[in-house]
Symmetry: D2
Subunit: 310 residues, 4 copies
Amino acid sequence: MKTALDLSEAIAVVHRDMQAHLGQGRVADYIPALARVDPRRFGIAAATCDGQLVCAGDGAEPFSVQSISKVFTLTLALEKLGADLWRRVGREPSGSRFNSMVRLEQEHGVPRNPLINAGALVVTDALLDRGDTGTTIEGIADFLRLRSEDPSVDIDQEVARSEGDTGFLNASLANFLKASNNLHSDVADVLKVYFNQCALRMSCSQLARAGLYLTADGLDPWTGERVTTAVRARRINAIMMTCGHYDASGEFAFRVGLPGKSGVGGGILAIAPHRAAVAVWSPGLNAAGTSHVGSMALERLAQLMDWSVF
Amino acid sequence: MKTALDLSEAIAVVHRDMQAHLGQGRVADYIPALARVDPRRFGIAAATCDGQLVCAGDGAEPFSVQSISKVFTLTLALEKLGADLWRRVGREPSGSRFNSMVRLEQEHGVPRNPLINAGALVVTDALLDRGDTGTTIEGIADFLRLRSEDPSVDIDQEVARSEGDTGFLNASLANFLKASNNLHSDVADVLKVYFNQCALRMSCSQLARAGLYLTADGLDPWTGERVTTAVRARRINAIMMTCGHYDASGEFAFRVGLPGKSGVGGGILAIAPHRAAVAVWSPGLNAAGTSHVGSMALERLAQLMDWSVF
Amino acid sequence: MKTALDLSEAIAVVHRDMQAHLGQGRVADYIPALARVDPRRFGIAAATCDGQLVCAGDGAEPFSVQSISKVFTLTLALEKLGADLWRRVGREPSGSRFNSMVRLEQEHGVPRNPLINAGALVVTDALLDRGDTGTTIEGIADFLRLRSEDPSVDIDQEVARSEGDTGFLNASLANFLKASNNLHSDVADVLKVYFNQCALRMSCSQLARAGLYLTADGLDPWTGERVTTAVRARRINAIMMTCGHYDASGEFAFRVGLPGKSGVGGGILAIAPHRAAVAVWSPGLNAAGTSHVGSMALERLAQLMDWSVF
Amino acid sequence: MKTALDLSEAIAVVHRDMQAHLGQGRVADYIPALARVDPRRFGIAAATCDGQLVCAGDGAEPFSVQSISKVFTLTLALEKLGADLWRRVGREPSGSRFNSMVRLEQEHGVPRNPLINAGALVVTDALLDRGDTGTTIEGIADFLRLRSEDPSVDIDQEVARSEGDTGFLNASLANFLKASNNLHSDVADVLKVYFNQCALRMSCSQLARAGLYLTADGLDPWTGERVTTAVRARRINAIMMTCGHYDASGEFAFRVGLPGKSGVGGGILAIAPHRAAVAVWSPGLNAAGTSHVGSMALERLAQLMDWSVF
């Protein structure tokens, strides 16, 4: 086994090594607010169980978390519904693109897992159920403020509205779920909450801090608060490992060796159990919709710190 | 983090706890030789990186390894072809049953991963390429003899012949691969080798011993031999984690938290990186074709030893 | 070849023969206004090229035409766009249910044919393009009034609104088409027109009269007006033959031997080229969503009149 | 309605009109014996109910009938099994390519119709059931000799053997059917008979003559023999109309307006009910695997003779 570097040194090495790759990949262009982002931005931050927070590059710069939010709404929905949630959404890799209708129809409106869009819509509906959209959106944002210990975390209203204009595939999925009796609230309300949760702006530092409870069996290791049960935390990590990157989840599992979740804003949150939560940000995406430089950075960091679970 | 038990104690606890469940699940009945096995058999064995081998119940009784063999042929094929293998087979979960044709057609004859049947047939073809069937079968058996340090490992000829009689789905897959130019050898030869590798008889002790190289970055921790590179060992573990149990891989990842591979003979091999390789055997299968009691035993052992990677 | 009966006698025979079957099948219950219809209603009417109109039972009673409207909007869209329509919708049987998403995704948002829901939504969009919903809806209603020579043809506002409340599958399809750039107008506008065209109320007599142009190479045989070209009329008949009853089109082609289009309101329009247009109505549906008694009546009539094209 | 030409004149016109197109399309190259055929060959023949046989170009030259044979084996299997055949094969268009596995898996081994390869294999198995391959092959050949009133009809042994070497997709389908318990005989035997029936060599004149019973409700109009019942003849025509050209059946229905069946040897058999059976041959295929010039010739002839059923 290799001797692990000090975390600060490792982050510095990763930051330096990524300079040659900045600008690679393709920035998401389906939302104007995302398309405008400078493709050469790069941030990284790691929060460790034993209390360190190391940050480099644009690691303090907020960006659109997009699908990374699915990890946090899943946590909230499991707290709210417990195992009943699994009647409405599966826990298996889909082997499909993030927005595929095919599997959804084959499986009669029960999405394969909570990290594909259809599954995340069901999770959002579970949070919204009988509440109003405003309260639900604030509840999600508050959870992230609390977990990141930063009250400034907020939703980018322009991005939230852009999703509303262009999200026809999500609207197609949501209507299909509704037709399958797997949405309880109004389609428009579910989509509103979903587009708002995706539009949360957070920095790598905030995200890494917020993800810490997944490194420590559901306890926040800095405050001792119980965020979720150990079983649920492990369940979430397992789902991130097998399903976190759509049909490139296997590749990420191999290269990085950690549970992770990517967003089309270019962010990735990865969990090194019992060690650290790490967030990276670089807007250029690979073919599977995951940050190209971000994946490389996580692979390098996991290697330097010997964090792969395999 | 919980205090871990001593391994011998833990294995004893698991063995005792499983007694109440013996006979649960459904024994595979598509091959007479498998259908005859007593459903109440139960064996378990763990081989640790630091030199222990602990065994309980029927852990020394040989059984038909079936699909567990795919892990070892994958290792051999990666040694033979290196990364070129990935031109012929993917590395992503399929989200489908073990023998699905659908994905294979959609993806033009490139199987999703080497642990579904179609992918394993390509791997076998890679081993057979330009060799003859007898030599190839002996080469696979020899690898298992070497890795288990036991020259008595052998192939059950009755099972090998039974597969030949009833394996129409495998023949369908193999012919489809051939039509897609993704088999180089004759269909009948590939099937012959495949049915023979599945018919290997090994005990839990032998399997656990044989799997040790996957716990230690490709080195056999008992002999110091390099079996495969660290990168390939990690790749194999990642594939076992995301794809090892067909469309129940996500569930296994959560419950057990370890890379694993099951066979319809009722065996499961699991890898606790840097700790141990574990094999269990209990013939009754769950709906996904994985040993019912075997999964429970692994879940319990991983919990007692705090081996989950999540 | 059998000696054909006089049409009036044949209609009387069919009417009498169907009495024993009234009430069979299952009335569509997804819209309250349809669910309330008496399952024992039965009407039939035939309009011949040479000027007869024969009607029996409830043949003068208006009912909800539902998907039969797709034949008429297809005619209008072909007049408006000509062959350009075929860039946006195919002409092949889908082998799928009327509302399947699977094929639509596989074929990148180009529906297989204009008689499945997805295809009909594209056709409706083609009619709506740059117009407003009110004008478009009135245009469709006016076409039916003109073709049936009956200004009383109208839209059932309650049914149109019901579709709006429950049509989540159609909303899912429409949003998918929009995401695929195959709808030009707003999703809500397309759905509004679509739900209104489906809510047209017409009697068997009106429908049979309206369909006459399809029996005579696009000319209305009673007035001499050209409704569409001969090529388009033949195209529409061919599509009705191969695609008019979703995944039971082959069965209808065999049993009745005529191009036809069914609606979930229990109506069927069938075309006997160069002879007659026939409409039947009986609310009970078979498993494929086609009127059970209606199909039997058409089979019997085609047999008595020797009208099968085969 | 247009005034129809005399048949001989019409055939002469078609023959002349096609000269400009000879050589268009792409000759099937997966069997050497087919690949060698001169792409500029063109033959046509029509046999009428009232006793004419008109032939032009290479209309007397035998070619490989390939999938056209499926029409005749279907006739024989319906005579042998009656409606029981429909428990093993459907009667609906598949909306898929001729050799698709996807539908077959989705529908649990019951092929969608008897004119796709999977369905034709089931039909062949129905003929073979409990017989031997030689007798069954001779029985099929004898049926064609009888129907064409020509004892010289025979099987091209080189083509039959070529299919055997390269037919991996058919072997894949047959093994899948066997695994689904929808083949009673040995896979190899079914494939042997199937490859032999496809290798029948017949001329346009022989094929047109042989198809006459489908124009006349199952009676051979020249001899008065009953070949099949009226209901079965109509059933076969309906299946040819909706399924005869795989996923281009809708297009053929529109352009030609007649039930038809194409083969990759470049032949097409079309039925004009109560008028004539027509066969064409031109080796160049379109993208759907149907003779390009052959389709054009049939479209032109049907137009000149006003034979479209629509």
